[in-house]
């Protein structure tokens, strides 16, 4: 265990009856790191978040957040974390300001400035409107704002951009990066591989309750991914056809040579493996 680790999970396990939702997982998240926790629905992502945030008592193993044991110091940990849930759970009949102020009071924050926080998530001017009148994107931004009320040291974000329009999704991604630059550790649960690739220093793949890979996106691509060369060739009848050559293999040079000598190549470009390709390669299944 290093002193810089904000989150340490050791053999963390949770079972629902006979079903093992989280199966002896081990990982660490460094301070001010964004860790992507990727996996399909039912893989154990949310259960892991629930254990780390004190909503569920682990059935096995242990975990520390900011050097505190999650079972013995649940309240002390909860005072220093922010959680943005997968589903919207705001008080719809209250205004945005009332929602944020309530949580500020629960965290015991004096002189809380709801307007400043709303401005950060682009909701200034709508603070006195009831949440029931908000669009999905606005609600999601308010959810993120609520997670930031106590200026958390660790931020748990569960699918924060799922189902959002590109503008709202981009605003939330910018906010995540802003928080990370401020020194906040971010535990990002998502099955949006592009988002993870862009935001996360490291990603963990979880499948059937087990972490099957954990590394930087670059290393994972190096280790598991296969770069490809895609070329469009002209056919005798005037049509076009695509040819693919796997790069970085012993046969690559001869295959490339054969392509250019035998075919009339019109366009050519290389393609990197995506995290989704790697996930499928490792687990044998897709993300949905």
């Amino acid at each position: 265990m290093t002193q810089q680790a904000a989150i340490i999970a050791e053999n963390l396990t949770y079972t629902y009856g006979a079903l093992t939702a989280v199966d002896h997982i081990n990982f660490t998240v460094d301070e001010s790191e964004i860790l992507g926790f990727l996996g399909p629905n039912g893989a154990g992502k949310t259960t892991t978040v629930k254990m780390l945030t004190g909503q569920l008592m682990p059935k096995g193993g242990r975990a520390q957040l900011l050097g505190l044991d999650i079972i013995r110091h649940t309240q002390a940990i909860q005072a220093q974390i922010g959680v943005c849930f997968e589903t919207t759970n705001l008080y719809e009949q209250m205004t945005a300001i009332e929602n944020l102020s309530l949580f500020a009071e629960l965290f015991g924050i004096k002189g809380f400035d709801a307007h400043a926080l709303l401005a950060r998530v682009g909701l200034d001017g709508r603070g006195k409107d009831r949440v029931a009148t908000y669009s999905k994107g606005m609600k999601q931004r308010l959810m993120v704002a609520r997670a930031l009320v106590n200026r958390p040291r660790i931020l748990f974000l569960d699918e924060p951009t799922e189902g959002l329009d590109p503008v709202s999704a981009e605003a939330i991604r910018a906010l995540i990066l802003e928080e990370q630059q401020r020194g906040v550790t971010v535990f990002l649960t998502t099955h949006d591989m592009l988002e993870a690739d862009r935001l996360c220093r490291r990603v963990a793949f979880i499948n059937q309750g087990k972490i099957v890979a954990l590394d930087t996106p670059h290393n994972l691509k190096q280790q598991y991914g296969q770069r490809r060369l895609k070329a469009q060739v002209a056919l005798p009848d005037g049509g076009l056809e695509t040819r693919e050559i796997t790069l970085d293999t012993p046969d690559t040079p001869s295959a490339v040579e054969a392509l250019f000598s035998r075919e009339q190549v019109v366009t050519v470009h290389s393609e990197e493996a995506s995290l989704e390709d790697i996930f499928i390669q490792i687990t044998g299944r897709g993300l949905v």
């Binding site: 945030t53 004190g54 909503q55 309240q75 909860q78 005072a79 974390i81 959680v83 849930f85 589903t87 919207t88 759970n89 705001l90 008080y91 719809e92 009949q93 209250m94 009332e98 309530l102 949580f103 009071e105 629960l106 965290f107 015991g108 609520r146 106590n150």
Partner: protein, 353 residues
């Protein structure tokens, strides 16, 4: 750590949500007005006058003197048919038809026949009263004393001379309705908090589950108690023993909260809370109907928890009962509340987890 700011924030939040739920906001405000109006439109005195119609081809003056002496309200009809028509029309509840030779038969020691007409649907007690009137008159007119000694024994509390006006009999029912309405409101708040997932968000703050129960408890007890005190105050229920009545209402408010917790543990939303609330209202109102219509609820009514609240309110407000008379009721009520609260909190804790 000082928990009060957390509890205060939760209570403020619940009050905001309660009054932003239009159904419960309107029901609460309109209900208060409605209960008070209902109380004041009900008769404030008990009408004990016995009314009847009388017909005889030759009505003896002695009969009318007797009726006057007994303070019986009567109308003399021109014919047997007119008397029958008046009863059928509901103008008089009963009628007596005396034979023209009534006095002659009585003096001869014979047994004259007097027809007693009663409106269809008259309860047996009313029939007995009119038959008794006729028999009493016969006795007075014939001058023959009854050859028995009547020994009157009163069973239960002797309420002779203490007839309660219908509006005052309504008070316990009003209290139960207020309690059940608040039970529904509280159950809805909690159920929607669980269903909407906001509870999860609350539980990831320094707030403890105990803070949540204390906050909901203060909200439930406060809302119920304030309304019950207001209605009792306006309807004169606090005139006799105000402190005793306040203690009873506080225990009633606690009962509302504990039942609210229990209902919330099985409700999913406002509609299911209202569904369970209607069941609770029917069951809990039964003892109140026993007060409103004496004799309609037998001793099994004591098995209902609301009986001890209703009986206490009834006896304190209407018969000036004191601590000595109602302390067993209060003790039982406190015990029931403790049990309900424990069951409600346990059931809700299971739902929260």
């Amino acid at each position: 750590m000082n928990r009060w700011p957390i509890v205060r924030a939760l209570v403020r939040k619940d009050l905001t949500l309660f009054f932003r739920n239009r159904f419960f906001a309107y029901i609460t405000l309109l209900g208060l007005v409605f209960y008070i109006i209902i109380y004041f439109v009900m008769p404030k005195a008990v009408d004990e006058t016995l009314e009847l119609g009388v017909y005889s081809a030759a009505l003896p003056e002695a009969v009318l003197e007797l009726l006057d002496a007994e303070e019986v309200g009567y109308q003399v009809f021109e014919s047997d048919d007119a008397l029958r028509a008046a009863i059928l029309d509901g103008d008089v509840p009963a009628g007596l038809v005396f034979p023209p030779d009534l006095m002659v038969q009585l003096r001869a020691g014979q047994k004259p026949r007097v027809d007693v007409y009663l409106a269809a649907g008259s309860p047996p007690e009313v029939r007995d009263v009119y038959v008794a009137v006729v028999k009493g008159m016969a006795l007075a007119l014939s001058g023959q004393p009854l050859n028995i000694e009547a020994n009157e024994i009163t069973l239960g509390p002797d309420m002779a001379g203490q007839q309660i006006a219908p509006r005052d009999r309504m008070r316990p029912l009003l209290a139960v309705i207020i309690i059940v309405m608040e039970t529904m409101g509280l159950a809805t708040l909690i159920a929607e908090e669980v269903q909407g997932g906001t509870l999860r968000a609350l539980l990831i703050t320094p707030m403890d589950v105990r803070d949540l129960f204390v906050g909901k408890g203060i909200m439930g007890v406060g809302m119920t108690f304030i309304q019950a005190v207001l209605v009792m105050g306006v309807t004169g229920g606090l005139c006799q023993s105000p402190v005793l009545m306040l203690v009873a209402l506080l225990l009633g408010a606690l009962m509302a909260t504990s039942i609210g917790f229990l209902m919330a543990s099985v409700s999913r939303d406002m509609m299911s809370s209202i569904g369970w609330g209607i069941v609770a209202m029917v069951v809990m109102s039964i003892p109140a109907f026993g007060v409103l219509f004496p004799g309609t609820v037998s001793t099994w009514g004591k098995a209902l928890p609301s009986y001890y609240l209703i009986d206490t309110i009834h006896r304190v407000a209407n018969f000036a009962a004191g601590w000595a008379e109602v302390w067993p009721n209060l003790l039982i009520l406190a015990g029931i509340n403790g049990l309900f609260l424990w069951i409600g909190v346990t059931a809700l804790r299971r739902r929260f987890s």
